[in-house]
């Protein structure tokens, strides 16, 4: 390798916690060549973010580091405070995961870009405000912000999520760093926006010659972006290879499992459509949901006249980007959001402007699986008590002891050991909690289950297992299901039929296979085209076609 931009040698990082030292990174060595894009992949907790943060010394004070990190030949771990400050932003810049928290809301984006320039003005030299502003406008134009002369004075909240991430990238680029460290730069973004941001990062390399170290858990992003891939697992670097080689011939078992777990469209045999004369579980005609606006402002129409039907025993996938109103529909069905117009019939009960009492009456028939299993369990209740709650509330069991056999049967059904009855939510992993969440939703054998992004908070390999379990339970219990997700590949694995939502309206409807392989509506086509395929050769072909 000709003089690597970044050279990490045997890096070890340990954190002091209440339960003793935790070794987050254990002897990682990797390098990034000039103009190279290196992707670091791994599950949450594998130490990939810690490794990247160590490069700029952005770790909390409880961390202890060992090994060596050379950034442009500078020994980062032994730099003084001033030299380190000079290196930050100049030698390597960071792009964070969540653009809305990485920008300071009380300053204009222009100010925040100029902040970097000001911080790196050499001592004794006068800072040229006008030139800096011109630089800021220039860099905003480069990252694709339209009308930058005017928008340089805008505040972060006046930009959309994708544009905010562009601004964050602009902040990083303005100092022309040799290396950009991008920590899950697209995880918080919608898939169509993700494609644009990835294009931009690639342009940073192609046009500006910067190296990129991108951290991600999405194998599609890896296939799309990377020249080389490093796989991390439990704090260790287990495999490192050029991207084609890694996807074609993974060496380690873990890498093989990781690649196998990636959901792919068309992997599963097409689901059998439900007979058209089956009774309907949910039907909506012209459904509208309006969120009340702030004082004196009109409300926000989240769902704008939607017709759909879920047959008994059918899994209906509801796909759309954030803000499309898909979650609102699910919440309206159980009374967490108020349906304000049209008609919505859930299991024979009309729930338009219904009172809490009406929802309580259908509650035993409806199960709900929430997106984030970490927050959907009361941290003070044991898993057993949480799963038993529907039985206690609806009088199916007088107390926890009486509910115990049923709860243990449910735990077994979702493939959790029965000892978990007495465990507390924080003692379970994300995947285990989401299974417990499934058990709770199924406690009363409901006729309808609403699953709101049930796997989006999980790692890929865990997601695959939860989806498999979900499909199996659906076959066994035969419930109807509204499966809300933003991931087309996920919907392909579970749903019989798919609805695609965009800005509060349904733009396409059809069997899963039909919609995913032959999308009719322009928006669906864009959605399908934007989700990267976890195959570098295929993805490269698609990209050149798309241009």
């Amino acid at each position: 390798m000709p003089n690597p931009v970044l050279d990490i040698q045997n890096l070890q990082v340990a954190f002091a916690t209440d339960h003793g030292s935790v070794n987050a990174v254990q002897g990682v060595s990797l390098g990034v060549a000039p103009g190279e894009i290196l992707a670091v992949v791994g599950e949450s907790g594998s130490g990939k973010s810690v490794t990247a943060r160590a490069v700029l010394q952005l770790l909390p004070s409880t961390a202890v580091l060992k090994g060596a990190i050379y950034l442009n030949g500078k020994d980062v771990l032994n730099l003084g405070a001033d030299a380190l400050r000079a290196a930050r932003g100049h030698d390597a810049a960071m792009v964070f995961q969540e653009p809305s928290t990485a920008l300071n809301p009380v300053y204009t984006v222009g100010w925040q870009i100029i902040e970097g320039l000001r911080a790196h003005t050499p001592k004794g030299e006068k800072f040229d405000k006008k030139a800096a502003r011109i630089r800021a406008i220039e860099i905003l134009r480069k990252v694709g912000i339209p009308n930058p002369e005017e928008r340089v004075d805008y505040y972060p909240h006046q930009f959309s999520g994708g544009q905010k991430q562009r601004v964050v990238i602009a902040c990083a680029l303005v100092l022309e760093p040799k290396l950009i460290l991008a920590d899950e730069p697209t995880t918080a973004l919608d898939v169509t926006v993700q494609a644009e941001i990835l294009d931009l990062l690639r342009a940073c390399r192609d046009d500006l010659g910067a190296s990129v170290l991108i951290i991600t858990h999405n194998m599609g992003v890896v296939a799309d972006m990377a020249d080389r891939v490093a796989v991390m697992y439990q704090g260790k670097l287990i495999e490192q290879a050029p991207v084609e080689q890694l996807f074609a011939h993974p060496q380690q078992d873990y890498t093989k499992r990781l690649l196998a777990a990636v959901p792919k469209i068309g992997l599963r045999a097409p689901a059998v459509p439900i007979a058209t004369d089956a009774p309907s579980a949910v039907s909506a005609v012209g459904l509208e949901v309006t969120y009340p606006g702030k004082f004196g402002r009109p409300g926000h129409l989240a769902v704008a006249g939607v017709d759909f039907e879920i047959k008994a025993g059918e899994v209906l996938g509801l796909v759309g980007e954030s803000g499309s109103g898909k979650t609102t529909i699910g919440r309206a069905m159980v009374g967490l959001a108020k349906a304000t117009g049209g008609s919505l019939n859930v299991l024979g009960t009309s729930v338009i402007r219904a009172k809490t009492k009406a929802f309580r009456a259908i509650a035993p028939e409806v199960g709900f699986v929430f997106q984030d299993p970490a927050s959907s369990f009361n941290p003070q209740l044991s898993i057993g008590a949480a799963i038993a709650e529907p039985m206690l509330v609806h009088g199916k069991a007088a107390n926890l002891a009486e509910a115990r056999p049923a709860v243990e049967a449910l735990l077994a059904a979702v493939q959790l050991p029965t000892e978990f009855f007495a465990r507390f939510p924080h003692e379970l992993s994300g995947g285990q909690r989401q299974r417990a969440s499934l058990a709770r939703a199924l406690a009363l054998r409901p006729k309808l289950v609403i699953a709101d992004e049930p796997t989006s908070a999980l790692d890929v390999s865990v997601q695959a297992r939860v989806l498999e379990l979900f499909a199996k339970l659906q076959r066994e219990f035969g419930f109807a299901c509204l499966f809300i997700t933003h991931d087309l590949a996920v919907v392909d694995q579970v749903a019989n039929r798919v609805l695609v939502m965009h800005q509060g309206k349904i733009v396409e409807e059809g069997t899963t296979r039909e919609v995913l392989t032959n999308p009719k509506h322009e928006y669906t086509q864009r959605l399908v085209a934007s989700s990267p395929i976890a195959d570098p050769v295929e993805q490269r072909k698609r990209r050149t076609l798309g241009r």
Partner: protein
Amino acid sequence: MRALKKLFNTGILGAARGSRGVQRGMLVTGLILTGFFIIMAILAPMIAPYGFAQLQDSHGYFGAQQPPSSKHLLGTTVGGMDVLSRVLWGSQTALLVIVFAVVMSIFAGVILGLVSGYFGGWLDRILVVIADAVFAFPSLLLAIAMSIVISGGRSGLFTGILSTAASITAVYVPQYFRVIRAEALRCKTEAFVEAAKVIGASHWRIMFQHIYKNATRTLPLIMTLNASEAILTLAGLGFLGFGIDPTMGAEWGYDLNRSVADVSAGIWWTSIFPGLAIVLVVLGITLVGESLNDLADPRLRSRGAANLDELEIASEVSVA
């Protein structure tokens, strides 16, 4: 009482085990002072040489303003009572007032806060306005007004303790109310509360099973901090003459008031000891409260450095 039990089972002892350095020193000092105070209060009837209102024994009257001697270790007051006995008995009064005041304000504050935060609406608005109005009053003035309303100024031991505790309660309920209401507002939007709603749980069940259990984590901290303020309020009431009748119970604030004139006359023992008792108890409880506050927050909690030597061995093993 459950909150108290929880405090002693998990809060303090758990925190003491996990603490280190200066934080540990603060906590342990506070615990020793507070423990000493509680033991003193419980054993007062046994270890006090005389009764709190006793003026004479078989040898006759004690005499006023007697300097410390073998008969009266800390001397006697201007009223001719034994200072040591007054200080010991006073701790009992103080402890009872703290317990009553804290328990009453916790009950009222928690229930009002839960209802107000969970249901919201007009009830919430009215309660918040009242709480803010109470905040705006000087707390001692409010306590005096309450004590006059409840007991007409001064009274016997039990009614005196109750009325003092009630006056303190009126001052501190808004604090508990505010904290529990804020926590209830936070919990109300958490996914697990929504999960309970979807299940069809009643408001009552959601409030007590889900929100209450997650809203009380800061209670032990406010409780300890308020307990020390309660002592100061009690002493202030006694000093101003709105406390407990001296023949009905010993009270440090009252003794301080009576010793004001002694200070300029060079009679130090009548003011120093009750004053010291107030200072030490307030210091002890405050130290416990403050260090619990720091220990409960992972960002303020100090830890030892991570051990990299251990790590080296671990990585060597894995390489091999």
